[in-house]
């Protein structure tokens, strides 16, 4: 069952983020993905997240697809102008990538090539619009294409916002829906309570909201996120659980597993599991889901 048909049928989808390597040795990426092939509905392949240079999402996604795994290729506004974006989107479709997720992309300033120029020729909404246009069989210049792609299009929504910020986010979310976005990935969520304001206005049983479940690796990581990352909140009792556990890694995996079960019970459309380097823990994280 494809990701598209699974989401359309209202079944719970399991997505996992899997970074392409910083280099050309793809064995670890493939091995980690192969361990959960069949259990994960599709792998989200990030486009140089945090502006750290690595193999492209297109390359990573093509490699996974060639091993029989479905992917969601990320595409962002940071590194390419209109020509390159359209060219790579067409290439992706012809190489078998049927799911695409559009983002703005972190500024190069925060990455490992801080002297690089950000492109940002088009905005995120314009990128989503571009994907819509391409699917009509024309390019941004209105010129006819030979054949047209057909994607399941996703994007991001920051469900942790509140007040005015949330209003602006919801307005943008509506525009994304109008432009053909079918599912939304949230930043890491550790509890449903943290997005109460969002859920008061968005029916997550109707709109395909897919929370990101981030595998905590340590107490330090949890505390760091609480201190430094806006709109991400790791509950204190969760941190204490890790602190008190004899096997902290196992406890972190168990917490991720329980969060996923919780989201499933609450009727979300799926989850996006982010393990940032601990992809080998994926089989345990999705056990029994």
């Amino acid at each position: 069952m494809t990701l598209k048909s699974k989401l359309e049928a209202g079944n719970f989808a399991i997505l996992a983020e899997i970074d392409p390597p910083k280099g050309v040795d793809v064995s670890m990426m493939i091995n980690n993905a192969m361990k959960v092939k069949g259990d994960v509905d599709a792998f989200i392949v990030p486009e140089m997240s945090s502006a750290v240079m690595r193999m492209s999402a297109l390359g990573g996604a093509m490699i996974l697809q060639s091993k029989g795994m479905e992917t969601v290729m990320q595409v962002c506004c940071r590194d390419r102008n209109q020509l390159a974006l359209q060219a790579d989107i067409l290439a992706a479709y012809s190489c078998g990538i049927k799911n695409i997720m559009a983002l703005t992309g972190d500024s190069p300033t925060i990455g490992d090539h801080s002297q690089a120029k950000g492109v940002y020729n088009i905005t995120l909404l314009e990128l989503i619009h571009t994907i819509k246009i391409l699917q009509t069989g024309r390019d941004m210049a209105g010129i006819e294409l030979t054949g047209k792609p057909e994607f399941l299009v996703g994007s991001t929504v920051n469900a942790g916002l509140k007040g005015n910020d949330l209003e602006v986010e919801l307005e943008e979310m509506n525009k994304k829906v109008e432009e053909g976005t079918k599912f939304f990935i949230t930043p890491p969520l550790f509890s449903i309570e943290s997005i109460e304001s969002f859920l008061n206005v968005v029916d997550h049983r109707k709109t395909k909201i897919i929370p990101t479940v981030l595998l905590l690796k340590s107490v330090g990581m949890a505390r760091y996120m609480n201190r430094n990352m806006n709109h991400i909140h790791v509950p204190e009792d969760m941190i204490m659980r890790i602190q008190k556990a004899a096997d902290k890694k196992a406890e972190c995996v168990l917490i991720a597993n329980q969060i996923i079960k919780n989201f499933k019970e609450e009727g979300f459309s799926g989850v996006n599991i982010s393990t940032i380097g601990w992809e080998d823990k994926l089989p345990e994280i999705i056990k029994g889901i």
Partner: protein
């Protein structure tokens, strides 16, 4: 200086058509020199708008004022006591002036009356040309005083590219190839050895890559 060009009057009218008391605010600096937003242009625009509103049978008050600069607090303070008489300001300053005015007078809508184009010079009366992109890291010392960042269509630092032909750029046959100009100039200066040196990849973090920029001078800061 900053080069600006007048906005089409239709665009200006569309922006201000619902206001009744409009102050047209000129700037006595760059936009005066490039004849886009100085006292003279304020007068001409004010007359045109008065005629337009008269034809529309609309009672709209249009006043004129030209400040020494709109990018300095002290000059913008000059309208502090009169700004409340207006429901909008049409600024003919560059984008900096428009924003500084808007920041200073929070509750008054401020509209731009010109398009801010580039950093340039007057080649001849009525012709202004781009000479600088304010990239934050000047390399003119090694390029014979000719800037490839602002004058080469591809902004390449080790040119010319394959599109240079008979001293002209591939994008426009009337446009001089910046790298041809650089080579000619270095030759005239007897410094062609400079051309042989490979310029490393440019650090764009001093350009817009690093986000909005700021220069802080502790020695002159008060």
């Amino acid at each position: 200086m900053i080069i600006a060009d007048k906005k089409p009057i239709e665009e200006i009218i569309e922006a201000i058509k619902d206001y009744k008391k409009i102050l047209i605010l000129g700037c006595n600096e760059c936009v005066t020199v490039c004849e886009a937003g100085g006292k003279k242009e304020v007068e001409i625009l004010a007359s045109a708008l008065r005629m337009y509103f008269l034809n529309q049978s609309k009672d709209v008050k249009i006043d004129e004022k030209t400040l020494e600069r709109q990018c300095d607090h002290e000059y913008l303070e000059e309208i502090r006591n009169t700004v409340e008489n207006y429901d909008s300001i049409l600024s003919l300053a560059c984008g900096v002036g428009v924003q500084f005015t808007a920041e200073k007078y929070h509750s008054t809508p401020v509209f731009p009356g010109v398009n801010t184009c580039f950093l340039g010079a007057t080649e001849e009366r009525g012709v202004w040309v781009e000479r600088c992109q304010a990239c934050g890291k000047c390399i003119l010392a090694s390029t014979g005083g000719i800037c490839p960042v602002s004058r080469c269509a591809k902004r390449i630092l080790n040119g010319p590219c394959g599109g240079s032909s008979k001293g002209k750029c591939e994008i426009n046959k009337d446009l001089a190839c910046a790298w041809q100009l650089i080579i000619d100039r270095l030759k005239a200066l007897g410094k062609l050895d400079e051309y042989e040196k490979i310029t490393p990849i440019k650090d764009w973090s001093t350009d817009r890559a690093g986000g909005p920029r700021k220069v802080i001078r502790e020695d002159v800061k008060q």
